[in-house]
């Protein structure tokens, strides 16, 4: 298990605050447990000496006042420290990139200023402030990125703002952390922090909004596929095959079926596999895939297949059937 990374300067400042709180807590806890154990050892019935008891007598009113006051002073310091770090969140820099985030049962829809759209994935450049403007289409969600140490509820009927400046490139998990119904634990995604050049490159290569693949991605989530099949191109999700095979790189790969027969996963294979899932050799997944025959129409299937093809970026998409 790796320790949670700090993907921004703010994250480091929060960790310092948490460390401060932890040290104070451990000191108090040590004091309480220490006094408890000492008292028990020293004043155990039958073991107590008159001398020990006599020594126990110096308590007075001032003692109570003094330590109460000390506690209050420490608390006030903590309060100021934590508040000052919180207020920052209400003051986004004017030059921040504005990205829209829409929560919907159970996916995150992301819209960039250039018109690019994504689902359950957020790409940002390192070193530039980014401001998320968030709203919900249905219930309350919560957009949370632990690596940045930030989160905020996403409410229907109004915008919420959340801003950050990521300083470390890489992929980090994002979660919905406000319980939002059946698919709550599937409403996760990936924040990818790219350096400036990669970001520009990425912006140019996102599938345009309204494309067949884009439609397929929405279907992939809406029909429940994303509940079991990993589809994020980036770590840490890509290799997760505990529930079902990962869709990343599936298109164009060789699949060995239960009867030992090997087959290349082309568009026709994907199309048929969605309708009736084939048994793979030696596979043991936590879930069994239902048939989507009669659930998804041909247009839907085409969109899904188009989307799955984008998950094997090295291969050119073919025209399938």
């Amino acid at each position: 298990m790796s320790w949670l990374p700090e993907a921004s300067a703010h994250a480091a400042r929060i960790d310092l605050l948490l460390a401060g709180l932890t040290i104070i807590s451990l000191a108090v806890l040590g004091l309480v447990f220490g006094l408890m154990v000492l008292n028990v050892m020293r004043f155990r019935a039958g073991r107590t000496t008159a001398v020990a008891r006599a020594a126990a007598g110096h308590k007075n009113w001032w003692f109570e006042i003094a330590w109460t006051a000390a506690t209050l002073v420490i608390f006030f310091g903590l309060f100021l420290w934590a508040t000052q770090l919180y207020v920052v969140g209400f003051r986004p820099p004017a030059d921040a990139i504005q990205i829209y985030v829409t929560g919907k049962q159970w996916m995150w829809k992301i819209q960039y200023p250039g018109g690019q759209r994504e689902i359950n994935a957020l790409h940002v450049p390192a070193g530039r402030p980014v401001r998320l403007l968030m709203t919900s289409e249905d219930v309350i969600h919560d957009f949370s990125v632990p690596a940045l140490r930030i989160k905020h509820d996403v409410l229907p009927g109004r915008y919420q703002s959340l801003w950050f400046t990521a300083t470390r490139t890489g992929s980090f998990r994002l979660y919905c952390t406000q319980f939002c119904g059946v698919g709550h634990s599937r409403m996760t995604g990936t924040l990818t922090v790219l350096d400036a050049a990669d970001y520009a490159d990425w912006l140019n290569n996102v599938p345009a909004s309204g494309s067949l693949a884009m439609e397929g991605e929405a279907l992939f989530i809406r029909s429940g596929c994303s509940g079991c099949h990993a589809s994020s191109r980036y770590a840490p999700d890509a290799a997760d095959a505990s529930r079902a095979p990962s869709m990343v790189g599936l298109y164009g790969s060789r699949v060995v079926l239960a009867d030992g027969h090997a087959i290349v996963a082309d568009a026709a294979f994907l199309h048929d596999a969605i309708l009736d899932s084939p048994r793979r050799q030696g596979a043991s997944f936590a879930t069994e895939m239902p048939s989507f025959r009669g659930v998804l129409g041909e247009e839907d299937l085409a969109a899904l297949v188009a989307y799955l093809q984008t998950l094997s970026p090295a291969l050119p998409p073919d025209t399938g059937n």
Partner: protein, 541 residues
């Protein structure tokens, strides 16, 4: 002196129509034990499910129903009533030196309301289920939930009346029914704690009632005052919900603090250090506890001013709690400490409550809360308060007063073993969750990324131990009813009025109305030897 309250009239009818506070306490004890078991089964299912990242036994939909069931049952059908309606009902008149509570009939009505509400809630939870979590946030609960919101919400509404009835009864009894000589500063600290609890019962519960009524209205007619499509504000629901539900935390913990004060004093054979501080800290917790609820909403979209104000108040509320902890430690200092089972539970309470309180500071600190809220850190924090603290105190209290309630001693060795096991199992279950929370694992997830598995497995292992430890008292308490040694009137050599009557007490509690001439916890002979401690105790304030 007439026969004990247990056997005076053994018919079922006499139990179901009883107005004797002691019998009502036992009726409550039976009901909440059943609910505790039910909630515990929910907890076991949750921990089983989370053994594997992909989940093991439950579908997402079922998992959501199970954790909602666990939350609703534990909060309203076990934790909130727990100590007040069992130990409180049994002890308030005994500690006051009274024959019964002020309104005996109302007391019985409150039990029937409780049972009715419990059945209604269970009907909703098991015929269709509910998947909103115990917090019922709108618009999920009002427009989007497929669960049985209405029966559960109406059940909790009824439950509120039961709480209010108990609160009214306690407050009025403590004002009106004190035995001659029982001044306010001679009251056992348990009664101060229950008085403070009752304030919350009476003044917070109705706000929950109206909030849930508004929710039910919105659910029924699909339009209502929190509906965002009408420009309604879902945050207003949260404000009103937490106006009750945060003080409800103090409903759960204050009686536990009362129990611990009694136990610590008895097993140290010393008056509680700083009696008046401890007494008033109960009342101030109840009062300040009403003005901190907004700290549940730091990331919910509440205004900056509001967040700052509530954060500051939240720091304040920890002061009276700290006063209690240090005064208990002060009580132990220079005492003559015996480590019987109740004392072990009390020590466990002090330790675990301290952890819970300190982690509360993390959540009161605005910026830290942003990272930690809605994660397993919060889950661990409130379980330290409610299970580590409150349930420990409840078990401690049951062991302490068991001889008085039943007239039988429980087996001491088993009692100590269970106490130790609960402490160990509890920490193993919930400590890893603090780390999980810091790492960012969100709460209420049926499945989770594989990186969190190790800590989850540790937590589930702890839960297994905890389950065994909780079943043990059920077994040996039952055994003791038939085979336990007969209890003397005052097995612990304690000072309260309840120990001056027989074990179990007669129907009318006291053969003669007791007259109080000394302070609570007046372990006179010992104080004569130590001298200073007693004088110190008296001159506080």
């Amino acid at each position: 002196m007439s026969a004990s309250y247990l056997w005076q009239d053994g018919t079922l009818r006499s139990w179901l129509l009883t107005r004797d506070h002691k019998r009502i306490a036992l009726l409550y004890l039976g009901s909440i034990t059943a609910f505790f078991a039910l909630g515990g089964i929910g907890a076991a299912l949750i921990r089983l499910q989370l053994l594997e990242p992909a989940g093991t036994i439950l579908s997402d939909a079922t998992y959501n129903r199970v954790f909602t069931m666990h939350g609703v049952v534990m909060v309203w059908l076990f934790l909130v009533p727990s100590i007040p309606v069992t130990l409180g009902n049994f002890l308030v008149p005994l500690m006051l030196g009274a024959r019964d509570l002020a309104f005996p009939r109302l007391n019985l009505v409150s039990w029937y309301l409780f049972v009715a509400s419990g059945l209604l809630v269970l009907y909703g939870l098991f015929r269709g289920g509910l998947e909103t979590g115990w917090t019922f946030y709108t618009p999920l609960s009002s427009d989007y939930s497929e669960g049985r919101v209405l029966p559960v919400v109406l059940g909790i509404f009824l439950n509120g009346f039961s709480s209010i009835a108990t609160g009214v009864n306690f407050i009025v009894s403590i004002h009106q029914l004190r035995a001659p000589g029982m001044t306010w500063y001679r009251l056992p600290l348990m009664l101060w704690a229950l008085y403070a609890t009752s304030i919350i019962f009476v003044l917070a519960t109705p706000v929950l009632g109206i909030t849930l009524l508004l929710l039910a209205f919105e659910r029924l007619f699909r339009v209502g005052v929190f509906d965002p499509t009408l420009g309604g504000d879902p945050l207003l629901f949260q404000q009103m919900f937490w106006f009750y539900s945060h003080p409800a935390v103090y409903i759960m913990i204050l009686p536990g603090m009362g129990v611990v004060s009694e136990i610590v004093s008895t097993f140290c054979r010393k008056p509680v250090f700083g009696y008046r501080f401890v007494a008033w800290s109960s009342v101030s917790i109840a009062a300040i506890g009403f003005i901190v609820w907004g700290h549940h909403m730091f990331v919910a979209g509440e205004s900056l001013y509001s967040a700052i104000v509530f954060s500051m108040f939240s720091f304040f509320v920890s002061v009276p709690s700290a006063i209690k902890v240090f005064n208990w430690l002060g009580t132990m200092h220079g005492g003559s400490i015996r480590l019987d089972a109740p004392m072990l539970y009390a020590l466990g309470f002090i330790g675990l409550f301290t952890v819970g309180g300190l982690t509360g500071l993390f959540l009161a600190s605005l910026a830290a809360d942003v990272h930690l809220t809605q994660t397993y850190f919060v889950v661990a924090h409130f379980h330290y308060i409610m299970v580590g603290g409150m349930v420990s105190a409840y078990f401690g209290g049951l062991h302490y007063w068991w001889p008085k309630i039943t007239g039988r001693m429980y087996p001491e060795i088993w009692g100590r073993l269970a106490a130790a096991l609960i402490f160990f199992g509890f920490n193993l279950t919930f400590f890893p969750q603090f780390i999980l929370g810091f790492e960012g694992m969100p709460r209420r997830y049926a499945t989770y990324p594989a990186q969190f598995q190790v800590l989850n497995v540790l937590s589930s292992a702890g839960a297994g131990i905890l389950a065994v430890a909780y079943v043990m008292p059920l077994v040996y308490f039952t055994w003791s009813l038939f085979r336990g040694a007969r209890a003397p009137d005052n097995p612990w050599g304690a000072t309260g009025l309840e120990w001056r009557t027989s074990s179990p007490p007669p129907v009318e509690n006291f053969a003669e109305t007791p007259v109080v001439t000394t302070d609570a916890y007046d372990y006179g002979d010992m104080d004569a030897r130590t001298g200073v401690a007693d004088a110190g105790g008296r001159h506080h304030v």
